[in-house]
């Protein structure tokens, strides 16, 4: 029986030592204040995840960011069909779509939204519209980045009422 116990300990000990057993996968819901962005009045939002209690409680114990997606309402406020886009960047100083497209990273492209219409992106839909997931994960891991609302075609006016859903593994 002692040999059995020793064997079990030998199996579990390396896992505990590496810390992997003492982790959990949690979901952070980070709601952004509703904003309207247009080709003539580009809107940028500062994302500071440390203002979220769940993120803040775990930020020092993050092992990995598993998934980041966008959930919420996108409203096309012009008459022509368009696709909403989201870019991220390390700075919040870009003031035109061209600057953002040249320096930022596209991370989300919505389905086509009819003129003067809206779409709701749910959790499972959002995953299929994410681009450059690695960059988005890095941004979420850093806890601070800037988010720009754009659209595929210009001119555009899009209302964003969205939430970032971040799935991460952290130490318990």
């Amino acid at each position: 029986m002692n040999k059995l116990k020793t064997g079990i300990l030998a199996f579990l000990l390396p896992l505990f030592i590496t810390g992997c057993v003492g982790t959990g996968t949690i979901i952070i819901v980070f709601e952004l204040a509703e904003f309207v962005s247009s080709s003539s009045g580009l809107e940028v939002v500062e994302v500071d995840l440390t203002t979220n209690n769940d993120y803040n409680d775990n930020k020092d114990r993050i092992k990995s960011i598993e998934q980041v997606t966008v959930v919420g309402w996108l409203v096309n406020e012009l008459q022509t069909d368009n696709q909403a886009e989201i870019f991220i960047a390390d700075v919040g100083t870009y003031s035109t779509p061209a600057e953002v497209q040249a320096n930022g990273t596209p991370v989300f492209l919505s389905p086509v939204i009819s003129g003067n219409d809206s779409v709701f992106i749910d959790w499972s839909d959002g995953l299929s519209h994410i681009e450059n997931l690695a960059a988005l994960k890095d941004a979420a891991d850093s806890g601070h980045f800037w988010l720009y609302g754009l659209a595929a075609d210009s001119p555009f006016t899009v209302r964003f009422h969205i939430t970032l859903v971040i799935t991460m593994t952290a130490g318990l």
């Binding site: 579990l12 896992l15 810390g19 309402w73 499972s124 939430t163």
Partner: protein, 185 residues
């Protein structure tokens, strides 16, 4: 060196075969419960396995399991939505330690093993890793060489970044024990 290794394996297999006390095959089904994972819910699964016991106290088994997780839920803007819980396939091997030599009656044992673990979810990258597990099992072998078995295992699948996925799995199944002459082959 390779020749020496081959001979050693052959000798070990021959020695084991000469002392086999039990061979069984079985099928099972049960619960697959994610532990500390907000992005998965409990699901179910089934599998098949084959067990070889060269001595009464130690056995080896290979298994295949197909499991599912339930879809996790999230409420955003007052709307409850789900994501795909996904499917897991696990093909592995394990050692059984305890009363595993076959024969009628109750048998209690522990298992320790590893598997090739693949978790597939819609819209997300597959998780393909080596998983490790440990757990108890209990089987009652009846007169017709049929055993009814319940087993549980705590499973750890290390992931990138030093974390892991953990599951508790409980299976109930039936095994057929091939009749072996008393004292083994």
């Amino acid at each position: 060196m390779k020749k020496l290794l081959s001979i050693a394996i052959l000798l070990a297999m021959t020695a084991s075969a000469s002392a086999l006390t039990d061979i069984s095959v079985g099928a099972f089904g049960g619960l697959n419960v994610p532990l500390v994972q907000d992005d998965a819910k409990s699901g179910n699964g089934f599998g098949v396995k084959a067990k070889f016991a060269p001595v009464p106290m130690i056995a080896g088994a290979i298994f295949y399991e197909s499991r599912g997780f339930g879809d996790p839920e999230l409420t955003v803007f007052g709307q409850t939505m789900t994501s795909d819980g996904g499917k897991v396939s696990a093909f592995g091997a394990e050692a059984l330690i305890g009363n595993v030599g076959g024969g009628m009656g109750p048998h209690f044992y522990w298992t320790i093993g590893l598997c090739s673990y693949k978790w597939t979810r819609d819209g997300q990258d597959d998780l393909s890793k080596i998983g490790y597990h440990l757990g108890p099992g209990f089987e009652i072998v009846l007169a017709a060489n049929i055993g009814v078995e319940i087993r549980g295992k705590f499973e750890v699948v290390p992931t990138d970044g030093g974390g892991s996925r953990k599951n508790a799995v409980v299976f109930i199944g039936a095994n057929y024990h091939f009749a072996l002459p008393a004292g083994g082959i």
